[in-house]
């Protein structure tokens, strides 16, 4: 009996490829067929290059036959529409980048290619990665694969929906304040946000440069570990990438957690924490204890300032990063501009959606003369305190375990009228970006029929520790977690 190729893990697919039970072209064909059947409803993809993917798959099959294939030879990967892939559109789900075709490969893409991966298609997202529900996409609606009335999370909602919804084996996402981990939690897949500087940002259309990271979204922790081995490492094109060695994560995974200490941050039990989420996360922590981990309580005292700090720094950087979208060199341009100012005003007014405009205005404000010290400078100081909180916590434990989000996925439109409520949903995830540490979300059950994510946070450049916790927990949890 032929296995359902669309439900494979990356490791499962590699085993089939290696045993010649299937080819890379078979994988692409199966996924393209699944996309044709399911994606009109799901809405995970914004563009698909089926012919290009098939060509790359043919090349991968040849390489494998010749014995020259890399570690991901023939594995199709879905790519968030924020990463540049040479010859493909890269709209960032924005009207302003309609018509732009990337002239170069992001380093993350180049590394996947070098390992033999096949670029499948581009996934939906909140415009310029600004949002937590993918409702801010200017292009289309992406649905939660577990329930069509619910959001998939965001901003990497398309990637999460594709992986959890059976139209991608694995995907790339980006995480500025939780944009990999939160949609992974909402859709029920694995999402890894590597430490800041671990994966090159070259070719990632910047939202907030000091917070952005590229990372894998997969069906298992082991798959995330494999992709991260390929993605990680210093890049001369990104001065902020770090020359720390990339361990063989897949070889360091264990089935138990003996010898590990896990910290539970006192401050992460907040008002508005959904009872079902709390129950699932507590059960998961209990499971970790059974696996041999010592569980202690720790404190991250500056957590309550994290959201404000995050939205000052992220919007400040975004206001400059998004200034380049002006209609002069690429993308959309308004017709018949009278002068440069007219060109900017009309191009940007028509090109950006309301959330992007809100953040540009906020970021411009906090950097303005007379307000800089009160907002941006203060935020940088608090950021240092938050980083120190984590250093002190990690002096006592190997990893922190927390809920990934205060609630499971919500219905479309439920929070769109209240941006602040939407921002508060980032409470458990933004701190990792501010501190530059790594974080992983692993499905740990359901609340109200929707997936819940267990977040595992680790010290900077210690991805092996959180992958080990996630993997051991995942094995112990088993397959039936969705109920």
């Amino acid at each position: 009996m032929t296995p359902d190729l669309t439900s494979l893990t990356v490791h499962g697919a590699l085993a089939l490829l290696e045993s010649k039970a299937c080819t890379a072209v078979d994988l692409v064909d199966a996924l393209v067929a699944a996309i044709a059947a399911r994606d009109p409803e799901l809405g995970a993809y914004v563009s698909l290059d089926a012919d290009g993917a098939r060509r790359e798959a043919e090349a991968a099959d040849k390489a494998r036959a010749a014995g020259t294939g890399g570690r991901l030879c023939g594995i199709p990967v879905a790519v968030k529409d924020v990463l540049n892939v040479r010859g493909q559109p890269c709209t960032c789900a924005s009207r302003i980048l309609q018509g732009y075709v990337a002239p170069y490969d992001a380093t993350a893409i180049a590394r996947l290619r070098a390992a033999g991966a096949v670029m499948l298609g581009r996934t939906n997202m909140d415009e310029f990665a600004m949002g937590g529900s993918t409702e801010n996409s200017a292009l289309k609606r992406t649905r939660n694969p577990r329930h069509p009335d619910y959001v998939p999370g965001g901003s990497s909602g398309g990637s999460a929906a594709a992986v959890a919804g059976g139209v991608a084996l694995c995907a790339l996402g980006t995480d500025t304040g939780g944009s990999i981990r939160q949609p992974a939690a909402f859709c029920g897949c694995v999402g890894l946000k590597p430490s800041y500087g671990r994966v090159s940002r070259y070719g990632l259309t910047a939202f907030a440069s000091s917070l952005d990271q590229v990372g894998p979204m997969t069906r298992t922790v082991r798959d995330a570990a494999l992709l991260q081995e390929v993605l990680g490492g210093v890049d001369p094109m990104d001065s902020t990438s770090v020359a720390a060695p990339v361990p063989a994560y897949t070889e360091r995974l264990t089935t138990d957690l003996r010898g590990m200490t896990l910290g539970v941050p006192r401050e992460y039990v907040v008002d508005g924490l959904d009872a079902g989420v709390e129950r699932a996360v507590r059960a998961a922590i209990e499971r970790c204890r059974e696996l041999g981990a010592r569980v202690i309580e720790v404190s991250l005292p500056h957590t309550r300032y994290a959201i404000a700090t995050y939205y000052v720094i992220a919007t400040a950087e975004a206001s400059a990063n998004l200034a380049r979208f002006d209609g002069v060199r690429y993308g959309q341009r308004c017709a018949d501009a009278a002068d440069p100012l007219d060109l900017y005003e009309r191009t940007r007014a028509a090109g950006f959606g309301p959330e992007v405009k809100r953040r540009i205005i906020l970021g411009t404000y906090v950097l303005s003369s007379g307000y800089y010290d009160a907002y941006y400078l203060s935020a940088q100081k608090v950021r240092t305190l938050i980083r120190r909180d984590f250093e002190q916590a990690f002096a006592q434990c190997d990893a922190l375990v927390t809920p990934c989000t205060p609630t499971p996925a919500y219905r479309f439109g439920e929070k769109t009228d209240d941006p602040l409520q939407m921002y508060l949903g980032d409470i458990f995830t933004v701190t990792a970006n501010l501190a530059g540490i790594c974080g992983l979300s692993v499905p740990c059950g359901v609340a109200g029929g929707l997936p819940v994510g267990l977040q595992i946070l680790g010290p900077a450049f210690k991805e092996e520790q959180i992958l080990r916790v996630g993997h051991a927990y995942e094995l112990a949890r088993g397959e039936g977690w969705l109920g």
Binding site: L83, N84, C90, C92, L97, Y100, A102, P103, Y104, A106, R201, Y202, G203, L204, T205, A206, A208, S209, S210, P236, M237, D238, S239, T240, A316, E317, S319, A320, A323, R324, D326, V328, R329, Y330, P340, L341, L343, Y344, T364, L367, S368, S369, Y372, Y376
Partner: protein
């Protein structure tokens, strides 16, 4: 009432690097528009800057030559404003932690030497070039991202002439340090000028105006010659100076208001998150210090002591490094350095001035000039012939010694042969001989001319004069 003028300069210098400030694109002038570009210098989505270490080195080198403090840690910042020549609509520059601070430049003024303090030197990227056509505008991004060093003075300069002298001195330093080609035609040096005036006796500086983007030293001179008196005139009439940016109109010879402080940009500087701070180890800075070349003042003194040149001549020669280099290369191969210097001071600088050419672009070589000096010192050719040969070398180049040999231009110094010609001339010019004897000494010159004519210009005129005087004295 008398008024004092205070002038501060912000000088933008294009550094001599092969590639741009934050990408690998070539830096070059005159290429087809938009052929020296990449995702980074075009501000494409996702592209990131990487530091050009050579630009950092050249900036520090400049700092070292003017005795500036080299900051162990400096950082880059984003300066935001929208303009079509800005690929990212922010410029990567340095705001509050520049590479160098607190240096000084010595200048020569009619009143003697003076020190202009340098506030800071920082590094940034250049913008693109906007081009306007009949029905459209275009942007050429070849220049975008070129490394620019900005040198900011204290307001120590007190006149247009001092500002000019400062720029001349600075250019000399930059050339000597080999940090910039200093080619003004290619816009290698551009200047913003801050100018204010105040009544004598007032401590606090007056309200300043800023004159933007002056591309020539003469432009700075003329703009200030207009702007400072304009401000004085406004104050004399009881008016006030508005803090504003003014444009220099070189054709009309006036400055006009561009924008006032109210519509000045809020640049919203913040640290560039895509670049790490620049950290310079003391050992690195010291290693760079050890490679500093001889600076103009030291070279001038050495030209006096080593080559025996008058101080004035040495000063003229060192003023332009490439001229001084030419002189020194020729002097090392010539029997008489002073003779080389004479050629440089007279014919060379005159012809360069007349033809408005750069010494690097004319065909004459230091070897050729040395050869020419060898020929005159050996009196193989006379000075008229030498001048003709120099003019030819300047125009077409060549080897003077070979030219003299080929064309038989060698000077006749054979006493017997010349004596015969002198005797012939005396015999044929009895009238002149008689005039000479009556005391008209100029008549001798006529006879010398006749001898030169007979020798087809090859006779050594000094020898001719000597022989003629002997003959006439002997009563021939």
């Amino acid at each position: 009432m008398n008024y004092l003028t205070s002038i501060g300069l912000e000088v933008h210098v294009q550094l001599r690097t092969r590639s741009k400030m934050f990408c690998g694109c070539a830096v070059g002038f005159g290429a087809e528009p938009n052929t020296q570009t990449c995702p980074v210098c075009l501000g494409y989505p996702g592209a990131m800057p990487t530091m050009n270490g050579e630009a950092v080195r050249l900036t520090v080198r400049t700092g070292l030559t003017i005795g500036a403090q080299i900051n162990a840690r400096s950082k880059f910042d984003r300066k935001s404003y929208f303009y079509p020549d800005m690929p990212k609509n922010y410029q990567i520059s340095q705001y509050d932690q520049p590479l160098c601070e607190h240096g000084s430049v010595q200048i020569d003024t009619p009143a003697g030497g003076k020190v202009v303090r340098i506030r800071r030197i920082h590094l940034e990227e250049d913008v693109a070039k906007n081009m306007h056509f009949a029905n459209a505008s275009g942007v050429d991004f070849n220049r975008a991202g070129t490394p620019l060093m900005e040198i900011v003075t204290q307001p120590d300069i007190t006149s247009a002439e001092e500002a000019f002298a400062f720029l001349v001195a600075l250019k000399q330093i930059l050339q000597y340090a080999e940090v910039s080609d200093c080619n003004l035609e290619e816009g290698n040096i551009r200047c913003d000028v801050n100018c204010s005036v105040r009544p004598e006796g007032q401590e606090q500086l007056g309200t300043k105006t800023e004159l933007k983007n002056l591309n020539t030293f003469k432009g700075v001179l003329n703009a200030l010659k207009y702007e400072a008196p304009r401000q004085v005139e406004v104050l004399r009439r009881g008016g006030t100076i508005v803090q504003e940016t003014r444009r220099w109109d070189g054709d009309a010879g006036i400055t006009t208001s561009m924008r006032t402080k109210e519509d000045a940009h809020d640049y919203r500087y913040f640290p560039e998150p895509d670049l790490m701070p620049v950290v310079l180890a003391p050992a690195q800075v010291e290693a760079w210090r050890a490679t500093l070349p001889e600076m103009p003042r030291a070279r001038r003194e050495r030209f006096v002591s080593e080559y025996g040149l008058p101080d004035y001549d040495a000063g003229v020669l060192v003023a332009d490094k490439v001229v001084a280099d030419f002189f020194e290369a020729a002097a090392r191969q010539a029997p008489n350095a002073k003779a080389v210097s004479n050629w440089m001071m007279t014919e060379m600088l005159r012809l360069l001035g007349e033809t408005e050419r750069d010494i690097r672009s004319v065909p004459i070589t230091p070897q050729a000039l040395a050869g020419l000096v060898r020929l005159t010192e050996a009196r193989t050719i006379n000075s008229n012939t030498a001048k003709e040969i120099f003019a030819e070398l300047f125009e077409k180049g060549g080897d003077p010694e070979a030219m003299v040999k080929q064309r038989g231009l060698g000077q006749v110094s054979d006493t017997g042969a010349i004596a015969a010609l002198v005797d012939e001339a005396i015999a044929e010019n009895a009238k002149s001989v008689e005039d000479y004897r009556k005391g008209k000494l100029a008549a001798a010159k006529f006879i010398v001319g006749q001898v030169m004519k007979r020798s087809k210009g090859k006779a050594d005129p000094q020898l001719v004069t000597k022989l003629l005087e002997e003959r006439l004295a002997a009563g021939a």
